[in-house]
């Protein structure tokens, strides 16, 4: 009897689920979508979750940001502070600063939410950066994913813009100083700079308009763009299918991993809460942007140790690295090369990052699709270029904290700046050659391991008295990982259809030779077989 009842209940339950699914499906035709997406395969590797960190921190930012908009007043109307923080009582400040202080001290949970918002913002940009490095060093930007690289790059720039506009909203001393630098940068643009600055600030800096304008950008235009580009980015991920690392059974035509439903969805959903949890933990334990110490913005003071948030640091550092006095008057106008040159360097650097996939595709002439990722060592030149770029960026970044480096390592500020100026130019070159050599050495090691096996540490004495160390062979799966990759050969300089060798052809061949002259060819099957015979 009981058995029948139980069976009846399950039947009832199943029929309810079935009925509900059926109800929804008949009205939305969602089963097609579930079938398509639920079976979508994602390969499992920790480095494939870096973009997800960015996505989830963005969601955290949206949630906490919405809370903050309930209480923030984007106004520079002057008020007297009467809140709870004693060292600011009775001080005149803008309504923006006043409301941010109220969020911090007088609204329940406000400080926690503010700190979650700010920490999540730092994490958002940091995870985008790390994600980009992963994409770069594994060659995941190659055809067909070049456009998605550009979309991702745009998101990186948008994230920096979101961060900077948010940093400027509280109208505290730090954010005002940051805006003053932006104002100086804009005014340094020849001819039009002053006009643009007055347009942006609604008159002479700081004016009373900028906080309201940045607020509109920060909560309306920029988030809308970020959401749109994230959507586009993800659509492309689905369209292209996910890349995967080389391994047995993994080809350019398949993707091996877990389906979204149920495994991957569960993992990704859980990962959202992990990211949120880590950010909330940081926000509850560590102060970020203590505006109550900085006080309201006043154009006269600048605190020691005034820096932008980390992602603008490279721009600040570039300004610090430019030697002084690069300025003269010509045609009745001041030409501030100490502003124009760093801005140009930054723009060129960012443009090179954005178009790198196209440059590499043009030099290699490679029109094939690539779904198997490179091991960084197997593309020694690309990895070396990446290392040079990281060194260049890192030097600019370090320069933004030149004063803190000087005090904390007991150095002179001039010494730090001069060292970094040299590093900015020589560092990338040194990093390029060292990285390239290390990569080629690692390739040689892989090659020797694939051919001769690895050293087992077991010494055997032969009957003739000779000692040898026994080499253990890799198994087939391991060896496949080591030997399955492509290299490029330098392009031959050939005349075009009209029998001419153009400058562009020469440039391309020259770059190709520079990029691929030093290389190791992957091991052929024949070599492996003869290698086996060796021992």
């Amino acid at each position: 009897m009981t058995a029948t009842t139980a069976a009846e209940t399950t039947a009832k339950k199943r029929s309810f689920t079935a009925a509900a699914s059926n109800y929804i499906d008949e009205r939305t035709s969602i089963s097609g979508v579930v079938k398509e997406f639920g079976r979508k395969i994602f390969p499992d590797h920790w480095s494939f979750l870096l973009g997800e960190i960015a996505l989830y921190s963005f969601i955290v930012i949206l949630i906490t940001g919405t809370f903050l908009t309930f209480f923030f007043q984007a106004s520079q109307a002057e008020v007297i502070y009467h809140g709870s923080w004693v060292p600011l009582k009775g001080i005149q400040m803008s309504a923006a600063m006043n409301s941010t202080l109220n969020i911090s001290f007088d609204i329940r949970g406000g400080l926690l939410v503010r700190q979650i918002h700010h920490w999540a913002a730092l994490l958002f940009v940091a995870s985008i950066g790390l994600h980009m490095l992963r994409i770069f060093f594994t060659g995941a930007f190659r055809k067909p994913r070049e456009l998605n690289w550009v979309i991702g790059f745009t998101l990186f720039v948008l994230a920096m813009a979101e961060g900077f506009t948010g940093y400027s909203l509280p109208d505290d001393l730090l954010s005002g100083n940051g805006l003053r630098i932006i104002d100086g940068l804009i005014k340094g643009i020849p001819v039009v700079g002053t006009w643009i600055s007055f347009l942006l600030f609604g008159g002479e800096f700081p004016g009373t308009a900028i906080v309201g304008r940045l607020y509109t950008l920060h909560i309306l235009l920029l988030p809308a763009l970020v959401v749109a580009f994230i959507a586009l980015h993800l659509v492309f991920v689905v369209v292209h299918k996910h890349t995967q690392y080389a391994g047995p059974g993994r080809t350019q035509q398949n993707v091996s991993g877990f389906p979204i439903l149920p495994v991957y969805a569960a993992k990704a959903g859980g990962f959202f809460f992990i990211v949120f949890g880590v950010v909330a933990l940081m926000a509850s334990l560590f102060t970020i942007n203590p505006i109550w110490l900085y006080g309201p913005y006043d154009p006269s003071p600048v605190s020691a140790g005034t820096q932008p948030d980390w992602y603008i640091g490279f721009a600040d550092g570039m300004l610090r690295l430019i030697p002084p006095h690069w300025e003269f008057v010509w045609l009745d106008r001041t030409w501030s090369w100490n502003i124009i040159v760093p801005v140009l360097i930054l723009v060129v650097f960012l443009v090179v990052v954005a178009i790198y996939p196209f440059v590499e595709a043009w030099v290699t002439g490679d029109k094939r699709e690539h779904h198997i990722l490179d091991r960084p060592r197997n593309q020694a030149t690309r990895t070396a270029i990446g290392a040079a770029g990281v060194t260049f960026y890192g030097t600019m970044w370090a320069a933004a904290s030149s004063d803190l480096i000087a005090t904390h390592f007991k150095l002179t500020m001039e010494g730090v700046i001069h060292t970094l100026q040299f590093t900015l130019i020589l560092g990338p070159i040194v990093a390029y050659f060292i990285t390239k050599r290390i990569c080629i050495a690692l390739q040689k090691k892989d090659r020797s391991v694939a051919l001769h096996g690895y050293e087992s540490g077991r010494i055997v004495k032969l009957p003739g008295g000779e000692f040898i160390e026994v080499h253990e062979q890799l198994d087939e799966y391991e060896r496949w990982r080591l030997v399955s990759y492509d290299t490029y050969q330098p392009l031959m300089l050939r005349p075009n259809s009209r029998g001419k060798i153009t400058f562009v052809n020469r440039l391309r061949a020259g770059m190709s030779r520079w990029l691929f002259e030093d290389r190791l060819e992957p091991i052929t099957k024949g070599e492996i077989e003869s290698g086996h015979g060796h021992h």
Partner: protein
């Protein structure tokens, strides 16, 4: 009666025309200016605590000649290695010796703080000796260093006058050529006051017309407030601002999340 009045008037007239009248006027004028200057400056001396005896001065002189004279000269007149101490006042000695900056451990961009070499009594004796050489700022009274002023005013004064070198939270900052503004955490109110009136190392002097004694008291109040009340937001990461925050998010924030990604994608055994 009438005659006397006239006589008196004549006398007065004669007095005005007296050959010494100009001299007397100059004397009166100088006396008034000097007196007014002294009175205005007296706002500083109202904060003086020193009552030094002749024996203190003698003891201080002996200590000075044994420990300081090799650089500052046998009569504190200064040498190529170190400045004259005539007129620096007791406050300068109390600050420099009391915080261990003097005697210097070695020459360098600036004298560094270290455990004080002399007891407070010996420091007082040295201060009494140096104060006896010429007038200068004296050791402040407790009522301006007790930290019972207005923290909000002090914070504003601090941001405008001090934060560009010492950082808004008093965490210190870099100056040129290896010099630096030291962190202000743990510095006593007396030493902060003395530093403001004497301008040690690279610090400018903030005299009483620049920042009034009440203003200085407010600054000390603010610094004591932020030290006594830890940040409402949690650990301060050295109060170093965005650099510390950026390093923290990359190393600990992103680092821990990447470690978690490795964990959730690890193959189960």
């Amino acid at each position: 009666m009438r005659e006397t009045k006239q006589k008196n008037a004549r006398k007065r007239k004669a007095g005005r025309r007296h050959p010494l009248a100009t001299v007397a006027l100059i004397v009166i004028g100088l006396g008034l200016t000097g007196g007014a200057y002294a009175t205005f400056n007296a706002t500083g001396s109202s904060a003086d605590a020193t009552t030094s005896s002749a024996s203190d001065v003698t003891a201080g002189k002996q200590l000075f000649q044994a420990n300081c004279a090799s650089c500052h000269g046998i009569e504190a007149q200064g040498t190529d290695a170190a400045p004259s101490l005539i007129g620096v006042g007791a406050a300068a000695v109390d600050f420099q010796v009391g915080t261990g900056r003097m005697p210097m451990a070695m020459s360098g961009p600036q004298a560094e703080q270290k455990p004080a070499q002399f007891s407070q009594k010996e420091t007082d004796q040295l201060a009494a000796y140096v104060a006896s050489l010429g007038p200068g700022p004296s050791i402040p009274l407790r009522d301006v260093t007790d930290g019972n002023g207005d923290a909000a005013k002090g914070a504003e004064l601090f941001r405008v006058n001090c934060a560009m070198c010492h950082n808004v939270a008093g965490a210190g900052g870099a100056l040129t050529e290896g010099k630096y503004a030291p962190p202000l955490t743990g510095v006593t109110g007396k030493h902060i006051y003395e530093a403001m009136v004497t301008g040690p190392q690279n610090m400018p002097v903030f005299n009483d017309r620049n920042i009034t004694p009440e203003g200085k008291r407010d600054i000390i109040t603010y610094l004591q407030f932020i030290q006594a009340n830890p940040s409402p937001g949690g650990f301060e990461l050295g109060s170093l601002g965005p650099v510390a925050e950026g390093l923290f998010i990359w190393i600990f924030g992103l680092g821990s999340i990447v470690a978690l990604t490795v964990w959730i994608t690890a193959k189960s055994n």
